[in-house]
Protein backbone atom coordinates (compact mmCIF):
# COMPACT_ATOMS: atom_id res chain seq x y z
CA UNK A 1 0.00 0.00 0.00
CA UNK A 2 1.71 3.20 -1.20
CA UNK A 3 1.68 6.26 1.03
CA UNK A 4 0.72 9.63 -0.41
CA UNK A 5 1.96 13.03 0.70
CA UNK A 6 -1.51 13.75 2.11
CA UNK A 7 -1.36 10.51 4.13
CA UNK A 8 1.92 11.58 5.75
CA UNK A 9 0.52 15.06 6.51
CA UNK A 10 -2.56 13.44 8.07
CA UNK A 11 -0.46 11.02 10.17
CA UNK A 12 1.75 13.90 11.33
CA UNK A 13 -1.30 15.85 12.44
CA UNK A 14 -2.64 12.79 14.29
CA UNK A 15 0.75 12.49 16.00
CA UNK A 16 0.70 16.26 16.77
CA UNK A 17 3.91 16.98 14.88
CA UNK A 18 3.85 20.06 12.67
CA UNK A 19 5.99 19.05 9.67
CA UNK A 20 7.41 21.63 7.26
CA UNK A 21 7.00 21.18 3.48
CA UNK A 22 10.53 19.92 2.83
CA UNK A 23 10.36 17.62 5.85
CA UNK A 24 7.09 16.19 4.57
CA UNK A 25 8.68 15.28 1.23
CA UNK A 26 11.67 13.66 2.86
CA UNK A 27 9.51 11.75 5.34
CA UNK A 28 7.31 10.42 2.52
CA UNK A 29 10.34 8.89 0.79
CA UNK A 30 11.82 7.39 3.95
CA UNK A 31 8.56 6.02 5.31
CA UNK A 32 7.72 4.38 1.98
CA UNK A 33 11.05 2.53 1.95
CA UNK A 34 10.63 1.41 5.57
CA UNK A 35 7.03 0.29 5.01
CA UNK A 36 8.05 -1.77 1.96
CA UNK A 37 10.61 -3.50 4.13
CA UNK A 38 8.43 -4.17 7.19
CA UNK A 39 5.59 -5.45 4.97
CA UNK A 40 7.64 -8.69 5.01
CA UNK A 41 5.74 -9.66 8.19
CA UNK A 42 2.76 -10.38 5.96
CA UNK A 43 4.63 -13.30 4.38
CA UNK A 44 5.16 -15.08 7.72
CA UNK A 45 3.17 -18.30 8.17
CA UNK A 46 0.90 -17.04 10.94
CA UNK A 47 -2.35 -18.90 10.29
CA UNK A 48 -3.84 -19.96 13.61
CA UNK A 49 -1.07 -18.21 15.60
CA UNK A 50 -2.16 -16.25 18.67
CA UNK A 51 -0.78 -12.69 18.75
CA UNK A 52 1.71 -12.00 21.56
CA UNK A 53 1.75 -8.46 22.94
CA UNK A 54 4.22 -9.00 25.72
CA UNK A 55 7.18 -11.32 26.42
CA UNK A 56 5.94 -12.46 29.82
CA UNK A 57 2.49 -13.68 30.84
CA UNK A 58 1.07 -10.70 32.72
CA UNK A 59 -1.25 -10.77 35.67
CA UNK A 60 -2.79 -7.72 37.25
CA UNK A 61 -0.80 -6.45 40.22
CA UNK A 62 -2.43 -4.51 43.03
CA UNK A 63 -1.22 -3.08 46.31
CA UNK A 64 -3.05 -2.26 49.53
CA UNK A 65 -5.03 0.97 49.21
CA UNK A 66 -2.94 2.92 51.68
CA UNK A 67 -1.80 6.53 51.45
CA UNK A 68 1.91 6.81 50.69
CA UNK A 69 4.02 9.93 50.33
CA UNK A 70 4.31 11.24 46.78
CA UNK A 71 5.91 14.29 45.18
CA UNK A 72 5.27 17.63 46.84
CA UNK A 73 3.51 20.31 44.76
CA UNK A 74 6.74 22.28 44.18
CA UNK A 75 8.50 19.05 43.09
CA UNK A 76 5.68 18.11 40.72
CA UNK A 77 5.72 21.62 39.23
CA UNK A 78 9.51 21.85 39.07
CA UNK A 79 9.69 21.09 35.35
CA UNK A 80 6.63 23.09 34.30
CA UNK A 81 7.12 25.43 31.33
CA UNK A 82 4.76 27.88 33.08
CA UNK A 83 2.93 27.78 36.39
CA UNK A 84 0.52 29.91 38.39
CA UNK A 85 -0.98 29.50 41.86
CA UNK A 86 0.55 26.02 42.29
CA UNK A 87 -0.94 24.82 39.01
CA UNK A 88 0.34 24.08 35.49
CA UNK A 89 -0.40 27.08 33.26
CA UNK A 90 -1.34 25.80 29.78
CA UNK A 91 -2.44 27.44 26.53
CA UNK A 92 -6.18 27.69 25.86
CA UNK A 93 -7.79 24.32 25.21
CA UNK A 94 -11.17 25.55 23.89
CA UNK A 95 -11.90 27.43 20.67
CA UNK A 96 -12.60 31.12 20.97
CA UNK A 97 -16.03 30.88 19.37
Amino acid sequence: MALSRDDVAHLASLARIELGEAELDRMLGELSVILDSVAKVQQAPTEGVEPMSHPMPLTNVTRPDEVRPGLSAPEALSGAPEQEQQRFLVPRILDEE
Partner: protein, 491 residues
Protein backbone atom coordinates in the same frame (compact mmCIF):
# COMPACT_ATOMS: atom_id res chain seq x y z
CA UNK B 1 39.05 -1.85 42.47
CA UNK B 2 36.62 -3.22 45.02
CA UNK B 3 39.41 -5.14 46.79
CA UNK B 4 41.76 -2.11 46.78
CA UNK B 5 38.95 -0.13 48.37
CA UNK B 6 38.18 -2.75 51.01
CA UNK B 7 41.85 -3.03 52.03
CA UNK B 8 41.94 0.80 52.02
CA UNK B 9 44.90 0.95 49.64
CA UNK B 10 42.87 3.47 47.71
CA UNK B 11 39.99 5.65 48.90
CA UNK B 12 36.67 6.09 47.15
CA UNK B 13 37.46 9.78 46.73
CA UNK B 14 40.80 8.98 45.05
CA UNK B 15 39.15 6.46 42.75
CA UNK B 16 36.31 8.81 41.82
CA UNK B 17 38.67 11.75 41.32
CA UNK B 18 40.90 9.62 39.06
CA UNK B 19 37.94 8.89 36.80
CA UNK B 20 36.85 12.55 36.80
CA UNK B 21 40.41 13.51 35.81
CA UNK B 22 40.42 10.97 33.02
CA UNK B 23 37.11 12.42 31.78
CA UNK B 24 38.52 15.95 31.85
CA UNK B 25 41.43 14.69 29.73
CA UNK B 26 39.72 12.54 27.09
CA UNK B 27 35.99 13.25 26.93
CA UNK B 28 36.51 16.20 24.61
CA UNK B 29 37.50 13.59 21.99
CA UNK B 30 35.12 10.75 22.89
CA UNK B 31 32.00 12.67 24.06
CA UNK B 32 30.67 9.87 26.23
CA UNK B 33 28.98 12.13 28.77
CA UNK B 34 26.09 14.56 28.51
CA UNK B 35 26.42 15.65 32.17
CA UNK B 36 29.25 15.03 34.62
CA UNK B 37 28.34 15.32 38.31
CA UNK B 38 31.69 16.07 39.91
CA UNK B 39 30.25 17.49 43.13
CA UNK B 40 27.67 14.75 43.66
CA UNK B 41 30.07 11.91 42.84
CA UNK B 42 32.77 13.18 45.21
CA UNK B 43 30.22 13.75 47.99
CA UNK B 44 29.01 10.17 47.67
CA UNK B 45 32.62 8.92 47.63
CA UNK B 46 33.42 10.90 50.79
CA UNK B 47 30.39 9.38 52.52
CA UNK B 48 31.64 5.88 51.64
CA UNK B 49 35.13 6.64 52.92
CA UNK B 50 33.68 7.94 56.22
CA UNK B 51 31.48 4.85 56.57
CA UNK B 52 34.43 2.54 55.86
CA UNK B 53 36.60 4.38 58.39
CA UNK B 54 33.82 3.95 60.95
CA UNK B 55 33.93 0.19 60.34
CA UNK B 56 30.47 -0.04 58.79
CA UNK B 57 29.53 -3.14 56.81
CA UNK B 58 29.57 -1.96 53.18
CA UNK B 59 28.44 -3.38 49.85
CA UNK B 60 31.24 -5.04 47.86
CA UNK B 61 31.00 -2.29 45.21
CA UNK B 62 30.78 0.61 47.71
CA UNK B 63 33.02 3.39 46.42
CA UNK B 64 33.29 2.02 42.88
CA UNK B 65 31.99 4.79 40.58
CA UNK B 66 29.43 4.19 37.86
CA UNK B 67 28.02 6.10 34.86
CA UNK B 68 24.31 6.00 34.01
CA UNK B 69 22.70 6.27 30.57
CA UNK B 70 20.74 9.50 30.30
CA UNK B 71 17.46 7.59 29.88
CA UNK B 72 17.24 6.94 33.66
CA UNK B 73 15.81 9.63 35.93
CA UNK B 74 18.25 10.98 38.49
CA UNK B 75 17.03 13.27 41.25
CA UNK B 76 18.70 16.66 41.03
CA UNK B 77 20.78 15.69 37.98
CA UNK B 78 19.70 16.62 34.42
CA UNK B 79 18.01 13.89 32.37
CA UNK B 80 17.58 14.59 28.67
CA UNK B 81 17.30 11.21 26.91
CA UNK B 82 19.52 12.76 24.26
CA UNK B 83 16.62 15.03 23.24
CA UNK B 84 16.05 18.78 22.98
CA UNK B 85 12.55 18.17 24.33
CA UNK B 86 14.03 17.48 27.78
CA UNK B 87 16.94 19.93 27.65
CA UNK B 88 17.61 21.20 31.18
CA UNK B 89 14.98 18.96 32.82
CA UNK B 90 15.91 17.96 36.36
CA UNK B 91 13.78 15.06 37.60
CA UNK B 92 12.35 15.26 41.13
CA UNK B 93 12.87 11.51 41.70
CA UNK B 94 15.34 8.66 41.15
CA UNK B 95 14.74 5.57 39.02
CA UNK B 96 14.68 2.42 41.17
CA UNK B 97 17.99 1.19 39.79
CA UNK B 98 19.60 4.57 40.56
CA UNK B 99 18.31 4.26 44.12
CA UNK B 100 19.96 0.82 44.28
CA UNK B 101 23.29 2.21 43.02
CA UNK B 102 23.15 4.97 45.64
CA UNK B 103 22.24 2.50 48.40
CA UNK B 104 25.21 0.32 47.42
CA UNK B 105 27.43 3.39 47.87
CA UNK B 106 28.39 3.71 44.21
CA UNK B 107 29.23 7.32 43.25
CA UNK B 108 27.37 8.37 40.09
CA UNK B 109 29.88 10.06 37.79
CA UNK B 110 27.35 11.39 35.32
CA UNK B 111 24.88 10.68 32.54
CA UNK B 112 26.01 9.09 29.32
CA UNK B 113 25.21 10.10 25.75
CA UNK B 114 22.62 8.18 23.74
CA UNK B 115 20.53 8.25 20.59
CA UNK B 116 17.48 10.45 21.18
CA UNK B 117 14.96 8.43 23.22
CA UNK B 118 17.18 5.39 22.53
CA UNK B 119 16.23 5.34 18.84
CA UNK B 120 19.30 4.37 16.85
CA UNK B 121 22.25 2.02 16.46
CA UNK B 122 25.09 4.54 16.44
CA UNK B 123 24.52 7.42 18.95
CA UNK B 124 24.51 9.74 15.92
CA UNK B 125 20.87 10.58 16.66
CA UNK B 126 21.74 12.30 19.95
CA UNK B 127 20.55 15.91 19.82
CA UNK B 128 23.83 16.83 21.54
CA UNK B 129 26.19 15.33 18.96
CA UNK B 130 27.58 11.80 18.52
CA UNK B 131 29.87 9.83 20.81
CA UNK B 132 33.03 8.39 19.27
CA UNK B 133 34.56 4.92 19.38
CA UNK B 134 37.78 4.91 21.44
CA UNK B 135 39.26 2.35 18.99
CA UNK B 136 38.88 4.82 16.10
CA UNK B 137 37.45 8.25 16.80
CA UNK B 138 35.99 8.48 13.29
CA UNK B 139 33.73 5.54 14.00
CA UNK B 140 30.51 5.01 15.95
CA UNK B 141 30.59 3.44 19.44
CA UNK B 142 27.33 1.60 18.76
CA UNK B 143 23.88 2.71 19.76
CA UNK B 144 21.73 3.69 21.37
CA UNK B 145 24.01 3.23 24.37
CA UNK B 146 27.19 4.49 22.70
CA UNK B 147 27.87 6.78 25.65
CA UNK B 148 27.81 3.89 28.11
CA UNK B 149 30.01 1.64 25.94
CA UNK B 150 32.56 4.36 25.13
CA UNK B 151 32.77 5.61 28.72
CA UNK B 152 33.79 2.09 29.80
CA UNK B 153 36.09 1.45 26.81
CA UNK B 154 37.90 4.79 27.34
CA UNK B 155 38.40 4.15 31.08
CA UNK B 156 36.30 7.13 32.13
CA UNK B 157 34.15 4.81 34.27
CA UNK B 158 34.73 1.22 35.35
CA UNK B 159 31.02 0.40 35.14
CA UNK B 160 28.00 1.84 33.35
CA UNK B 161 24.27 1.28 33.01
CA UNK B 162 22.66 0.86 29.60
CA UNK B 163 19.23 -0.02 28.24
CA UNK B 164 18.52 -2.55 25.53
CA UNK B 165 15.31 -2.37 23.46
CA UNK B 166 16.65 -4.07 20.33
CA UNK B 167 20.33 -4.50 21.18
CA UNK B 168 21.40 -1.15 22.64
CA UNK B 169 23.59 -2.71 25.34
CA UNK B 170 24.94 -5.69 23.37
CA UNK B 171 25.72 -4.04 20.01
CA UNK B 172 27.67 -1.10 21.56
CA UNK B 173 29.58 -3.63 23.71
CA UNK B 174 30.49 -5.63 20.59
CA UNK B 175 31.87 -2.67 18.63
CA UNK B 176 33.86 -1.23 21.57
CA UNK B 177 35.40 -4.45 22.91
CA UNK B 178 33.44 -4.36 26.19
CA UNK B 179 30.93 -6.67 27.92
CA UNK B 180 27.21 -5.87 28.08
CA UNK B 181 24.20 -7.81 29.33
CA UNK B 182 20.50 -7.47 28.61
CA UNK B 183 18.90 -9.29 31.57
CA UNK B 184 15.66 -11.26 31.25
CA UNK B 185 12.74 -8.89 30.60
CA UNK B 186 11.52 -7.82 34.04
CA UNK B 187 14.79 -8.75 35.75
CA UNK B 188 15.74 -5.11 36.41
CA UNK B 189 13.09 -2.53 37.30
CA UNK B 190 11.98 -0.13 34.57
CA UNK B 191 10.59 2.37 37.10
CA UNK B 192 12.15 5.73 36.28
CA UNK B 193 13.33 4.65 32.85
CA UNK B 194 11.96 6.96 30.14
CA UNK B 195 10.08 4.37 28.09
CA UNK B 196 10.77 3.77 24.40
CA UNK B 197 8.88 0.50 23.80
CA UNK B 198 7.64 -0.81 27.14
CA UNK B 199 7.36 -4.49 26.18
CA UNK B 200 10.96 -4.54 24.85
CA UNK B 201 12.99 -2.14 27.05
CA UNK B 202 15.39 -3.64 29.58
CA UNK B 203 18.12 -1.92 31.60
CA UNK B 204 21.36 -3.77 32.26
CA UNK B 205 25.08 -3.59 33.08
CA UNK B 206 28.08 -2.58 30.91
CA UNK B 207 31.67 -3.26 32.06
CA UNK B 208 35.11 -4.42 30.93
CA UNK B 209 34.94 -7.98 32.28
CA UNK B 210 32.24 -10.60 32.69
CA UNK B 211 32.66 -10.65 36.49
CA UNK B 212 32.36 -6.85 36.77
CA UNK B 213 29.20 -7.05 34.68
CA UNK B 214 27.81 -9.74 37.00
CA UNK B 215 28.58 -7.70 40.13
CA UNK B 216 26.71 -4.70 38.70
CA UNK B 217 23.84 -6.92 37.52
CA UNK B 218 23.44 -8.21 41.08
CA UNK B 219 23.21 -4.64 42.42
CA UNK B 220 20.50 -3.41 40.04
CA UNK B 221 18.45 -6.61 39.63
CA UNK B 222 15.50 -7.80 41.64
CA UNK B 223 11.81 -7.23 42.21
CA UNK B 224 10.34 -3.73 42.36
CA UNK B 225 6.72 -3.27 43.43
CA UNK B 226 6.70 0.02 41.50
CA UNK B 227 7.11 -1.83 38.18
CA UNK B 228 4.14 -4.13 37.51
CA UNK B 229 6.18 -6.14 34.97
CA UNK B 230 9.06 -6.75 37.37
CA UNK B 231 9.78 -10.44 38.06
CA UNK B 232 8.95 -11.36 41.65
CA UNK B 233 11.90 -13.72 42.23
CA UNK B 234 15.49 -13.41 43.48
CA UNK B 235 18.20 -12.23 41.07
CA UNK B 236 19.72 -15.29 39.31
CA UNK B 237 23.14 -16.31 40.81
CA UNK B 238 25.12 -14.35 38.20
CA UNK B 239 28.22 -13.61 40.30
CA UNK B 240 28.70 -17.26 41.28
CA UNK B 241 28.23 -18.24 37.63
CA UNK B 242 30.86 -15.74 36.46
CA UNK B 243 33.31 -17.13 39.01
CA UNK B 244 32.52 -20.75 38.04
CA UNK B 245 33.21 -20.22 34.31
CA UNK B 246 32.94 -23.93 33.52
CA UNK B 247 31.22 -24.98 30.30
CA UNK B 248 32.02 -28.70 30.40
CA UNK B 249 28.91 -30.71 29.64
CA UNK B 250 26.98 -27.71 28.33
CA UNK B 251 25.34 -27.72 24.91
CA UNK B 252 25.79 -24.60 22.79
CA UNK B 253 23.29 -23.96 19.99
CA UNK B 254 24.57 -22.10 16.95
CA UNK B 255 21.66 -20.19 15.40
CA UNK B 256 21.55 -21.05 11.68
CA UNK B 257 19.78 -17.78 10.79
CA UNK B 258 22.31 -15.48 12.55
CA UNK B 259 25.68 -15.50 10.85
CA UNK B 260 25.25 -16.03 7.13
CA UNK B 261 24.75 -13.39 4.47
CA UNK B 262 25.57 -9.82 5.47
CA UNK B 263 28.05 -10.84 8.19
CA UNK B 264 31.56 -9.45 7.78
CA UNK B 265 34.13 -12.26 7.24
CA UNK B 266 36.31 -11.07 10.14
CA UNK B 267 33.34 -11.08 12.51
CA UNK B 268 32.43 -14.59 11.43
CA UNK B 269 36.06 -15.82 11.72
CA UNK B 270 36.46 -14.57 15.33
CA UNK B 271 33.09 -16.12 16.17
CA UNK B 272 34.07 -19.56 14.81
CA UNK B 273 37.37 -19.47 16.73
CA UNK B 274 35.58 -18.51 19.95
CA UNK B 275 33.13 -21.39 19.59
CA UNK B 276 36.08 -23.76 19.09
CA UNK B 277 37.67 -22.49 22.33
CA UNK B 278 34.47 -23.36 24.20
CA UNK B 279 34.45 -26.81 22.60
CA UNK B 280 38.07 -27.26 23.73
CA UNK B 281 36.83 -26.55 27.27
CA UNK B 282 34.29 -29.35 27.12
CA UNK B 283 31.15 -27.86 25.58
CA UNK B 284 29.15 -29.60 22.86
CA UNK B 285 27.86 -27.74 19.79
CA UNK B 286 24.61 -28.24 17.88
CA UNK B 287 23.06 -26.19 15.10
CA UNK B 288 19.58 -24.83 15.87
CA UNK B 289 17.04 -23.71 13.31
CA UNK B 290 14.97 -20.60 14.13
CA UNK B 291 13.15 -19.92 10.84
CA UNK B 292 10.98 -17.11 12.22
CA UNK B 293 14.05 -15.00 13.02
CA UNK B 294 13.97 -13.99 9.34
CA UNK B 295 10.88 -11.91 10.17
CA UNK B 296 12.17 -10.47 13.46
CA UNK B 297 13.52 -7.20 12.07
CA UNK B 298 10.25 -6.40 10.27
CA UNK B 299 8.14 -7.29 13.32
CA UNK B 300 10.39 -5.23 15.59
CA UNK B 301 10.17 -2.14 13.37
CA UNK B 302 6.38 -2.31 13.63
CA UNK B 303 6.05 -3.11 17.34
CA UNK B 304 8.68 -0.60 18.47
CA UNK B 305 7.29 2.47 16.66
CA UNK B 306 3.76 1.55 17.72
CA UNK B 307 4.70 1.47 21.40
CA UNK B 308 6.97 4.51 20.99
CA UNK B 309 4.23 6.61 19.37
CA UNK B 310 2.09 5.91 22.42
CA UNK B 311 4.85 6.39 25.02
CA UNK B 312 6.11 9.64 23.52
CA UNK B 313 2.61 11.15 23.52
CA UNK B 314 3.43 12.35 27.03
CA UNK B 315 5.78 14.97 25.58
CA UNK B 316 2.96 17.42 25.05
CA UNK B 317 4.63 20.67 26.24
CA UNK B 318 2.14 21.04 29.09
CA UNK B 319 3.72 19.76 32.33
CA UNK B 320 7.43 19.60 31.61
CA UNK B 321 9.88 19.77 28.75
CA UNK B 322 10.19 22.17 25.84
CA UNK B 323 7.30 24.52 25.04
CA UNK B 324 7.38 26.73 21.95
CA UNK B 325 4.53 28.61 20.31
CA UNK B 326 3.72 28.28 16.59
CA UNK B 327 5.04 31.22 14.60
CA UNK B 328 2.59 33.94 13.58
CA UNK B 329 -0.27 32.80 15.79
CA UNK B 330 -1.66 35.02 18.55
CA UNK B 331 -2.94 33.15 21.58
CA UNK B 332 -2.33 29.67 20.11
CA UNK B 333 -4.30 26.68 21.34
CA UNK B 334 -2.81 23.87 23.41
CA UNK B 335 -2.97 21.65 20.33
CA UNK B 336 -1.02 24.15 18.21
CA UNK B 337 1.59 24.60 20.94
CA UNK B 338 1.89 20.82 21.25
CA UNK B 339 2.46 20.33 17.51
CA UNK B 340 4.96 23.18 17.29
CA UNK B 341 6.87 22.00 20.39
CA UNK B 342 7.09 18.40 19.17
CA UNK B 343 8.26 19.61 15.75
CA UNK B 344 10.97 21.75 17.35
CA UNK B 345 11.97 19.29 20.08
CA UNK B 346 12.12 15.91 18.34
CA UNK B 347 14.84 14.89 15.88
CA UNK B 348 14.26 13.23 12.50
CA UNK B 349 14.53 9.62 13.64
CA UNK B 350 12.06 10.16 16.49
CA UNK B 351 9.52 11.85 14.20
CA UNK B 352 9.96 9.08 11.62
CA UNK B 353 9.23 6.36 14.17
CA UNK B 354 6.30 8.16 15.82
CA UNK B 355 4.63 8.64 12.42
CA UNK B 356 5.39 5.04 11.41
CA UNK B 357 3.82 3.84 14.67
CA UNK B 358 0.80 6.05 14.17
CA UNK B 359 0.36 4.44 10.75
CA UNK B 360 0.84 0.85 11.96
CA UNK B 361 -1.79 1.35 14.65
CA UNK B 362 -4.29 3.21 12.47
CA UNK B 363 -7.65 1.78 11.57
CA UNK B 364 -7.48 -0.30 8.41
CA UNK B 365 -3.78 -1.16 8.72
CA UNK B 366 -3.70 -2.50 12.28
CA UNK B 367 -4.29 -6.16 11.33
CA UNK B 368 -1.89 -6.12 8.38
CA UNK B 369 0.96 -4.54 10.34
CA UNK B 370 0.78 -4.44 14.13
CA UNK B 371 -1.46 -7.51 14.52
CA UNK B 372 0.68 -9.52 12.13
CA UNK B 373 3.87 -8.40 13.90
CA UNK B 374 2.46 -9.67 17.20
CA UNK B 375 1.85 -13.07 15.64
CA UNK B 376 5.44 -13.14 14.36
CA UNK B 377 6.52 -12.33 17.90
CA UNK B 378 4.79 -15.51 19.09
CA UNK B 379 6.54 -17.55 16.36
CA UNK B 380 9.90 -16.19 17.49
CA UNK B 381 9.20 -17.04 21.13
CA UNK B 382 8.22 -20.56 19.98
CA UNK B 383 11.49 -20.87 18.01
CA UNK B 384 13.45 -19.97 21.15
CA UNK B 385 11.49 -22.45 23.28
CA UNK B 386 12.20 -25.22 20.76
CA UNK B 387 15.89 -24.32 20.50
CA UNK B 388 16.29 -24.45 24.29
CA UNK B 389 14.99 -28.03 24.25
CA UNK B 390 18.29 -29.09 22.69
CA UNK B 391 20.70 -26.32 23.78
CA UNK B 392 21.52 -24.70 27.14
CA UNK B 393 22.46 -21.41 25.47
CA UNK B 394 22.41 -20.07 21.90
CA UNK B 395 25.38 -18.35 20.24
CA UNK B 396 25.81 -15.92 17.34
CA UNK B 397 27.94 -12.93 16.41
CA UNK B 398 26.49 -9.92 18.29
CA UNK B 399 26.51 -7.53 15.32
CA UNK B 400 26.98 -8.33 11.63
CA UNK B 401 29.84 -5.85 11.21
CA UNK B 402 32.45 -3.95 13.20
CA UNK B 403 31.91 -0.23 13.93
CA UNK B 404 31.06 1.78 10.83
CA UNK B 405 32.16 5.35 10.17
CA UNK B 406 30.19 8.25 11.64
CA UNK B 407 27.86 9.60 8.94
CA UNK B 408 28.12 6.49 6.75
CA UNK B 409 24.58 5.19 7.34
CA UNK B 410 22.87 8.28 8.69
CA UNK B 411 20.74 8.86 5.60
CA UNK B 412 19.77 5.23 5.21
CA UNK B 413 17.48 4.12 8.06
CA UNK B 414 17.18 0.56 6.71
CA UNK B 415 20.96 0.03 6.66
CA UNK B 416 21.10 1.34 10.24
CA UNK B 417 18.27 -0.96 11.34
CA UNK B 418 20.15 -4.03 10.00
CA UNK B 419 22.79 -3.61 12.69
CA UNK B 420 20.42 -5.01 15.28
CA UNK B 421 19.40 -8.06 13.26
CA UNK B 422 21.09 -10.54 15.64
CA UNK B 423 20.07 -8.87 18.90
CA UNK B 424 16.37 -8.10 18.24
CA UNK B 425 14.90 -11.64 18.58
CA UNK B 426 15.88 -11.71 22.29
CA UNK B 427 13.92 -8.52 23.00
CA UNK B 428 10.84 -9.79 21.20
CA UNK B 429 10.90 -13.00 23.28
CA UNK B 430 12.11 -11.40 26.55
CA UNK B 431 15.10 -13.76 26.93
CA UNK B 432 18.45 -12.55 28.34
CA UNK B 433 21.55 -11.93 26.20
CA UNK B 434 25.17 -10.93 26.61
CA UNK B 435 27.92 -9.71 24.30
CA UNK B 436 31.53 -10.68 25.07
CA UNK B 437 34.57 -9.45 23.08
CA UNK B 438 35.71 -12.14 20.63
CA UNK B 439 38.72 -10.42 19.07
CA UNK B 440 39.64 -8.02 16.28
CA UNK B 441 38.49 -8.41 12.68
CA UNK B 442 41.33 -8.98 10.21
CA UNK B 443 39.93 -6.48 7.68
CA UNK B 444 39.96 -3.40 9.92
CA UNK B 445 41.48 -4.36 13.28
CA UNK B 446 38.27 -3.40 15.11
CA UNK B 447 36.52 -5.29 17.94
CA UNK B 448 33.97 -8.01 17.28
CA UNK B 449 31.48 -9.46 19.75
CA UNK B 450 30.02 -12.88 20.47
CA UNK B 451 26.41 -13.02 21.65
CA UNK B 452 25.17 -15.55 24.20
CA UNK B 453 21.41 -16.02 24.67
CA UNK B 454 19.80 -18.01 27.52
CA UNK B 455 16.24 -18.97 28.45
CA UNK B 456 14.17 -16.45 30.43
CA UNK B 457 15.29 -16.15 34.10
CA UNK B 458 18.37 -18.35 33.44
CA UNK B 459 20.67 -15.29 33.17
CA UNK B 460 23.40 -17.10 35.12
CA UNK B 461 24.13 -19.30 32.05
CA UNK B 462 25.26 -16.18 30.15
CA UNK B 463 27.87 -15.53 32.81
CA UNK B 464 29.11 -19.12 32.97
CA UNK B 465 29.70 -19.24 29.22
CA UNK B 466 30.86 -15.61 28.97
CA UNK B 467 33.44 -16.03 31.72
CA UNK B 468 34.73 -19.31 30.26
CA UNK B 469 35.21 -17.70 26.86
CA UNK B 470 36.79 -14.59 28.36
CA UNK B 471 39.32 -16.63 30.32
CA UNK B 472 40.24 -18.73 27.26
CA UNK B 473 40.65 -15.60 25.12
CA UNK B 474 42.67 -13.73 27.74
CA UNK B 475 45.05 -16.70 27.80
CA UNK B 476 45.40 -16.52 24.03
CA UNK B 477 45.81 -12.72 23.93
CA UNK B 478 47.95 -12.50 27.07
CA UNK B 479 45.46 -10.07 28.65
CA UNK B 480 42.22 -8.23 27.98
CA UNK B 481 41.32 -7.05 24.47
CA UNK B 482 41.14 -3.40 25.59
CA UNK B 483 44.91 -3.52 26.25
CA UNK B 484 45.27 -3.55 22.45
CA UNK B 485 43.22 -0.35 21.99
CA UNK B 486 45.11 2.73 20.81
CA UNK B 487 46.07 5.32 23.42
CA UNK B 488 43.69 8.27 23.50
CA UNK B 489 45.47 11.59 23.17
CA UNK B 490 44.85 13.70 26.23
CA UNK B 491 43.75 17.18 25.20
Amino acid sequence: MASLLSTREVSAVELTQAHLDRTAAVDGAVHSYLHVDQVGALAQAEAVDRARAAGEDLHVLAGVPVAVKDVMTTRGLPTTCGSRVLEGWIPPYDATLVTKLREAGMPILGKTNMDEFAMGSSTEHSAYGPSHNPWDLERIPGGSGGGSSSVVASFQAPLAIGTDTGGSIRQPAAVTGTVGTKPTYGGVSRYGLVALASSLDQAGPCARTVLDTALLHAVIGGHDPRDSTSIDAPVPPVVEAARRADVSGMTLGIVKQLGGEGYQPGVRARFDEAVQLLVDRGAKVVEVDCPSFDYALAAYYLILPSEASSNLAKFDAMRYGLRVGPSGVDAPSAEQVMAASREAGFGDEVKRRIILGTYALSSGYYDAYYGQAQKVRRLIADDFAKAYETADVLLSPTAPTTAFKIGEKLDDPLAMYLNDVATIPANLAGVPGMSVPSGLADEDGLPTGLQILAPATADERLYTVGAALESALHERWGGPLLAKAPELKES
